[in-house]
C-alpha cells in the first residue's frame, strides 16, 4: 500500500497543473477572505477568526481543488496511463484507496495552506474588521463553520468531482458538474419548486449541495442536511467504485 501511495504522490506532484491550481486556490481564498475585511464595512459587519477560516469552503475556492481531484482519474483516462497504473497495481481496490487517501491528504494540506493565507490576512486586517469574540459571519451564509467541517466539506466536494470523473471518464465533467449543480442548477430547481407551489418541495429537500451548505452553515431548519449530503457523496463514490472495478481499463 505504501508503494501505491508513493506512486500517487509522484503522479500528483509531477504535473505542473497541480501546483498551478493549488496556487490559484490560495490566491482566491486570500482574495475572498481579504475583500470584506479591507474594503470597509460594506454591510458585512465585524468578522471573527472562525468566520474568516470558513472562507475556503466556498465553491469558488473548492472548484480549484476539484480540478486537481478530477485529475486523479481524469488524466489517467485521458492519457491512457490508467493501463500503466493497473498493470503495476493489479488490485484495483488498492489503487482506488490510494487515490482517495491522497485526495484527502491533498485537501487537508491545501485547506491548512488556505488557513495560513487567511491567518496572515487576518493579522494585517484593520482593527475594527476582525473580532476575537462574537458570532461573526460566514461567506457561505449562515453561521461560521467549524474547522473540521471546512475540511470535510472540501473533501466531500472533491470526492464528488473525482467520482463524476470516474463515472463519465471525462475530466471536464468532473469539474463542471459539481460547480454547475451547486451554483446554478440547484438554484434553478429551487425557483421552479417555488413556482410549483409545493409540488416539488421533496426535490428541494434532497438537493446535494443545498444540504451540504446547510450543514456547513448550521442552518437549524434542516437537521438532516448533513446526512442527506453524506448520502449523496457516498452514493456517487460507490457507483464510481463499482464501475471502476467492473469496467475495462
Amino acid at each position: 500500500m505504501i508503494s501505491n501511495l508513493i506512486y500517487e504522490w509522484r503522479r500528483l506532484w509531477s504535473v505542473r497543473a497541480t501546483w498551478i491550481m493549488t496556487f490559484v486556490y490560495l490566491v482566491i481564498t486570500g482574495l475572498l477572505g481579504a475583500g470584506p475585511l479591507f474594503l470597509g464595512d460594506g454591510g458585512f459587519g465585524t468578522q471573527t477568526w472562525k468566520g474568516l477560516y470558513s472562507t475556503n469552503a466556498n465553491v469558488l475556492c473548492l472548484v480549484m481543488l476539484s480540478v486537481v481531484a478530477s485529475q486523479f482519474f481524469g488524466h489517467e483516462y485521458r492519457y491512457g496511463t490508467i493501463r500503466l497504473t493497473l498493470t503495476e497495481f493489479p488490485k484495483r481496490e488498492r489503487v482506488l484507496l490510494a487515490k482517495t487517501l491522497l485526495l484527502g491528504a491533498y485537501v487537508l494540506i491545501s485547506t491548512f495552506l488556505g488557513w495560513a493565507v487567511l491567518g496572515a490576512i487576518g493579522t494585517m486586517a484593520p482593527q475594527d474588521s476582525l473580532s476575537k469574540n462574537g458570532s461573526g459571519w460566514n461567506l457561505n451564509g449562515g453561521e461560521p463553520s467549524e474547522l473540521w467541517q471546512v475540511v470535510l466539506f472540501g473533501f466531500s466536494y472533491c470526492l464528488i468531482a473525482m467520482s463524476i470523473t470516474m463515472i463519465t471518464r471525462n475530466l471536464a465533467l468532473g469539474i463542471v458538474f459539481p460547480l454547475l449543480m451547486s451554483s446554478i442548477i440547484e438554484g434553478l430547481i429551487q425557483v421552479f419548486a417555488t413556482l410549483a407551489k409545493g409540488k416539488m418541495d421533496w426535490i428541494v429537500e434532497v438537493l446535494p449541495f443545498a444540504n451540504g451548505t446547510a450543514w456547513l452553515t448550521h442552518l437549524s431548519d434542516q437537521p438532516n442536511a448533513g446526512l442527506i449530503f453524506a448520502a449523496w457523496v457516498v452514493g456517487f463514490y460507490l457507483i464510481a467504485s463499482a464501475l471502476f472495478f467492473k469496467r475495462d481499463a
Binding site: 506512486y7 505542473r16 497543473a17 467492473k246
Partner: protein, 303 residues
C-alpha cells in the same frame, strides 16, 4: 518465467473479440504475436494483464500476476507509444513507474540512457515523436528488469537503426532466460526476431508453434534440385509417387519434401546433384495464407 494463457475470451457486445484463446510463452525465447488488424492482439494482451474483464486466465509460472510481488519485477508491459502525460517529464514518468519496485534514480537514468532519451529526460514528452514515445514506453517496461516483457507493436515509428537495436535488445533479453511476447505488423522484422509464433485471426488461434514449424506449413515450401540428370531423377521420383516440376534447364522443384529425403533418393540411384536446397516460404506468405479468411477489416480490390 513461463506464461500460460488459458481459454481467454472477450465479447464487445455482439463482437467476439477473443475466442477461447490458449497458448504458452516459453522462457528464453522471443514469441511473436501476429494477426491482421482487429484480430484481437491488443485485447488479448490487455486480458493477460487483467486490464480488461473477460473469460479465462493467465498464469505466470503457474500463478496469477498479482501474486507475484512486486509486479513490475515480474512483468513489464508496453501497450501504446502515447501512454504518458504530455507535461510530465520523461524522468518523472519513469520515477512514478518505479514506485512499486523501489527503483532508484540511478536506474532511471541508466534506462533513459539505454533507450537514448537521456538528453530529453527533463523535457515534456508531449512533443516527442512516435519513435521517442516508443522508447519511453519501452523504458517503462524494462525499468524494473522484469522476467517477462509484453510489447504491443513496439517497432512502430522507429527508424531502421532503432528497429535493429530493438531486435538485438529483445534477443539479448530473452537469451537470459526471460520471456518476451511481442506483437508486430512488420512481418519481415518478426521473421528475424521471433523464435516462436502465436498467430490469431478474428480472435481465434491459428497457430502456436516455433517459427520453422510455422514456415513449413506453407503450400509454397519445396526442395530445389539441379542436376545434369534431372529428367532421370524426375522419373525416379514419379515412380515413388513424388511429383516434381521443371524450373528451367536441369532444375527441378519438388513441393512438400525435405532435402534429406530427396538427397537420399538421388544418392541411392547414383544421380549426381549440383544443387540441393530448400525453398521455404517467407513468413509473410504463410501468414497471408493462414489468415486470409480471418481478416476482420478487408481492404478493397484495386482494378
Amino acid at each position: 518465467m513461463r506464461i500460460e494463457a488459458r481459454n481467454l475470451d472477450k465479447h464487445f457486445r455482439k463482437i467476439h473479440a477473443v475466442d477461447d484463446l490458449s497458448f504458452t510463452v516459453e522462457p528464453g525465447r522471443v514469441t511473436g504475436f501476429l494477426g491482421p488488424n482487429g484480430s484481437g492482439k491488443s485485447t488479448t494482451m490487455r486480458l493477460m494483464l487483467g486490464l480488461d474483464n473477460g473469460g479465462g486466465e493467465t498464469l505466470f509460472d503457474g500463478q496469477k500476476l498479482n501474486s507475484h510481488l512486486p509486479v513490475t519485477r515480474t512483468i513489464g508491459a508496453h501497450l501504446d507509444a502515447k501512454f504518458f502525460h504530455p507535461k510530465r517529464s520523461a524522468y518523472a514518468h519513469l520515477r512514478m513507474l518505479g514506485a512499486e519496485a523501489g527503483i532508484s534514480k540511478a536506474r532511471v537514468h541508466e534506462v533513459l540512457k539505454l533507450v537514448g532519451l537521456e538528453s530529453v529526460a527533463k523535457k515534456r514528452p508531449g512533443g516527442f515523436s512516435l519513435g521517442m514515445g516508443q522508447r519511453l514506453g519501452l523504458a517503462g517496461a524494462i525499468l524494473a528488469d522484469p522476467q517477462v516483457l509484453m510489447l504491443d507493436e513496439p517497432a512502430n515509428g522507429l527508424d531502421p537503426q532503432s528497429i535493429q537495436w530493438l531486435r538485438d535488445f529483445l534477443k539479448y533479453y530473452a537469451s537470459n532466460g526471460r520471456s518476451v511476447l511481442v506483437s508486430s505488423h512488420l512481418l519481415s522484422e518478426m521473421e528475424l526476431l521471433a523464435d516462436d509464433l502465436v498467430v490469431i485471426a478474428r480472435g481465434k488461434l491459428i497457430a502456436a508453434e516455433s517459427m520453422p514449424a510455422f514456415l513449413s506449413r506453407a503450400t509454397g515450401s519445396a526442395v530445389v534440385v539441379r542436376s545434369s540428370q534431372s529428367e532421370k531423377l524426375s522419373e525416379i521420383l514419379n515412380a515413388q509417387g513424388i511429383a516434381s516440376t521443371s524450373d528451367g534447364a536441369n532444375t527441378l522443384v519438388i513441393p512438400r519434401q525435405t532435402t534429406d529425403r530427396i538427397g537420399e533418393i538421388a544418392f541411392t540411384n547414383g544421380i549426381a546433384l549440383s544443387e540441393l536446397s530448400p525453398r521455404t516460404a517467407s513468413l509473410e506468405q504463410v501468414f497471408l495464407e493462414l489468415t486470409d479468411s480471418g481478416q476482420e477489416y478487408r481492404i478493397g480490390q484495386t482494378s
